[in-house]
């Protein structure tokens, strides 16, 4: 049976290999990279679609409701239906808006959210590119995500939108500094900017993960991540009770959907990064406890996925639990609490390096 199937496909495979050999070497590399990009982005888009479903279901259950349950079995097709609806709606461009910037803004917002995945290793040796300055690259790309929001606010030529984009601008610049300092802490612990090296530096079991020596940094990083993605309780950018929907109030149809995709892609990105930088990414928590050849102690993509899911769940949990922060309190938290905490912990880390404790033990 298997042989006959192999015989059936053999000519097709041979033909394909012949066609493949035709391409010049540069072209082959380019096509391979494009293929890998598709392999990363297609599951990511499915994750984005289903995190919106998960959000509505989880918040629903937290508020003792059922959530979407009409489209498909238990509402499983709800995100597909939403996507179809948004695709067929008209994209309305306000008369007095800056048309080009108005349409570029959603693109600018989703581009960094997707491009950052280029350096994320999903398993040992499983990354699109494993560059030396991976951590810096991620930090740089997440920092330019703010342009989409600012430009959207300005180009809409609407009061609510511009108020929102001013809020976002100030908020993201403030939290980026704390986030950067928290990453400096990780950098000191791993001694490398390379993502794979950072994860490998945490090998040795549950207690070798960077979350333990860098506990304050972990909290600062994750909370700053929530603030960077403009999620509740830091969602003053789209505070419904004050400025309707904020920067995307004038957007409709697919242009709005792209903003939506970018927000959720960013949530998944921050969750994945937190899992990787502080919880040892693809490493198993049972490393060192179980035998080395036990299947639970093996490194796996599923550990990484599971850890990222925990943080993604926290994003939804926060939204169901906390009331929105007042704007001056957000600013105070960013500048007067998080930045001093990270700087103090950098000093503590320096002392730990000298005393050779934790990850710096020789």
């Amino acid at each position: 049976m298997i042989e006959s199937i192999a015989d059936f496909f053999a000519p097709a495979i041979a033909l394909w290999l012949e066609v493949w050999a035709w391409f010049p070497a540069d072209m082959q590399t380019l096509l391979l990279i494009l293929g890998k990009i598709v392999l990363i982005l297609a599951p990511l888009m499915i994750c984005v679609a289903y995190i919106t479903y998960a959000e509505r279901k989880i918040i629903g259950y937290m508020q003792i409701r059922i959530g979407p349950n009409r489209v498909g079995f238990r509402g499983w097709l709800q995100p597909i239906a939403d996507a179809m609806k948004l695709m067929f709606k008209e994209v309305i461009i306000p008369t007095k808006s800056d048309k080009y910037l108005f349409l570029i803004a959603p693109v600018l917002s989703i581009m960094p959210a997707l491009a950052a995945w280029a350096v994320i290793p999903f398993d040992r040796g499983m990354a699109l590119t494993d560059v030396n300055a991976g951590l810096l690259y991620v930090l740089a790309l997440t920092s330019i995500g703010v342009y989409g929001v600012i430009i959207a606010g300005w180009a809409s030529n609407s009061k609510y939108a511009i108020l929102s984009s001013l809020r976002v601008g100030a908020q993201i610049v403030a939290y980026e500094i704390a986030m950067g300092f928290a990453l400096v802490g990780v950098l000191m612990a791993s001694g490398s900017l390379n993502m794979s090296d950072i994860v490998e530096g945490q090998s040795g079991g549950f207690w070798s993960w960077y979350i333990w020596p860098l506990l304050p940094m972990f909290f600062v990083y994750f909370i700053s991540g929530v603030a960077e993605t403009n999620r509740a309780p830091f969602d003053v950018a789209e505070g419904e009770s004050e400025i309707v929907a904020g920067f995307h109030v004038e957007y409709s149809g697919m242009a709005f959907a792209v903003f939506f995709l970018a927000e959720y892609a960013n949530i998944i990105l921050i969750s994945a990064l937190t899992a990787m930088l502080f919880l040892g990414g693809w490493l198993s928590p049972f490393e060192g406890v179980l035998d080395a050849d036990h299947w639970l102690a093996a490194t796996s993509f599923f550990w990484f996925f599971g850890k990222a899911c925990i943080f993604a769940f926290c994003f939804l949990w926060f939204r169901a639990t906390f009331p929105r922060y007042r704007y001056d309190q957000i600013m105070r938290l960013g500048w007067k609490v998080f930045i001093p905490v990270t700087i103090v912990w950098l000093f503590v880390e320096a002392v730990m390096v000298v005393a050779e404790v934790g990850p710096w033990a020789v």
């Binding site: 800056d98 300055a133 690259y137 740089a140 920092s143 342009y147 300005w154 511009i162 001013l166």
Partner: protein
Amino acid sequence: MTITDFLFFAFAGVTVAAALGVVASRNPVHSALFLVLTFFSCSAIWLMLEAEFLAITLVLVYVGAVMVLFLFVVMMLDINVAKMREGFVSYLPVGILFALLMLGLMVYVVGPVGPDVMGTAALDNAVKHAADYSNTEALGEILYTDYVLAFEIAAIILLVAIIAAISLTLRRRPATKYQTPGKQIKVKRDDRLKIIESDAEVLK
């Protein structure tokens, strides 16, 4: 033309076009965004020069922070485009003169003619680094050994600038009302609420 050449010319073309856009566009917000594009394509060229740390830092610092604040200020201005366009032609000759001067200087300093102060002649037969070459490490090794004094002095100057900027903008305004979160948190029920005894009254 190899793919590297193609990429270089593509990014260089975008850089020049965007730089022209900065001075030529009518709207200051568009100018600021063109400047962002210029930075971005410059950083791509740096990346091709194997200077990945500098390239990413350019994006991180200038695109991610400085230009955001720039845009922030420009966005809030009430811009009279017609007025801003006045004098564009009369300033043009001076602008072109300075542009040519800059070009001449650059060619003189780094170009094929001139005293070769930057040592560019040696770069003609430069070899590519191996794939495991880390620009970050190379920079760090030089900055923290050979040039540590200059580096520390630059850091102190920056610190002084930060403190100066804060002290310039910090002014006491007794008239403004603000909340102290510490006091807000410390409030107990007894500070705000008083329960008093009173006899029941019959309303007539």
